[in-house]
Symmetry: C2
Subunit: 137 residues, 2 copies
């Protein structure tokens, strides 16, 4: 049975990373571990570790990106929660067997080797849930 082990991150959509850092880094005191642009998704992301998890601040870098459209429609706020799982393939199979709709049929893999997928919010009571299988060290 696949097992969830922790919240990997909570992703927050903001219109500008620098402005949002005035709260998250300067007022709340979270460390800014790294900041990177993802030109494929047309976003800038700030990664802020907290315990075994991270807060991720995500801002669009173009006016027509998916995140820019989300922002225009929904405004700033929490975008998704990412849960770490030990076997993403087994979890996806288990979810499908219960009738849960996934956004991607097979896991995607990011540049760090992490396998990931999203559960459709309409199968998740309005929440965008990401699943991560992080490669073992």
């Amino acid at each position: 049975m696949p097992r969830l082990s922790r919240i990997n991150h909570v992703a927050i959509v903001v219109d500008d990373v620098d402005s949002a850092l005035s709260l998250w880094r300067d007022a709340l005191g979270l460390p800014l571990q790294k900041r990177e642009r993802n030109d494929g998704e047309a976003v800038e992301i700030a990664f802020m570790p907290i315990g075994e998890s991270e807060i991720e601040l995500i801002a669009p870098t173009t006016a027509d990106s998916g995140v820019a459209k989300y922002l225009a429609k929904r405004g700033m706020g929490m975008h998704h929660v990412c849960l770490e799982v030990d076997d993403i393939g087994a979890m996806m199979e288990q979810l499908r067997s219960k009738g849960i709709e996934l956004i991607n049929d097979v896991p995607k893999i990011n540049e760090h080797g992490t396998k990931y997928c999203f559960i459709h919010p309409k199968s998740a009571f309005g929440v965008m849930i990401e699943l991560y299988e992080v490669p073992r060290p």
Copy 2:
């Protein structure tokens, strides 16, 4: 300097706890640690531990509760993220000194002795942030 140590919980508003458990417990496999009614807030809450954090599912128990109104206006989804801090009084003072608006002026205390407060979403880029100072064992 007050320090944030972890995500205590992510709270999700749903219209019915039993329905939402079909995803969170039955499909994703998170344990249901406890389930309680809070008649003061007119909500039912399911607590599901994951790593050092929890997922909390919150459903209104009356049609005119604050959560029922939130649900009618915004729909189901993530409601707030709760961050644990070692000294909530010092953190509230630090936030005020940076011009961050808090919903309560002094910490409230729940039945477990946890001190808590909320940062106003308009000072937090659209996110409802709760702060917890949990009593030391």
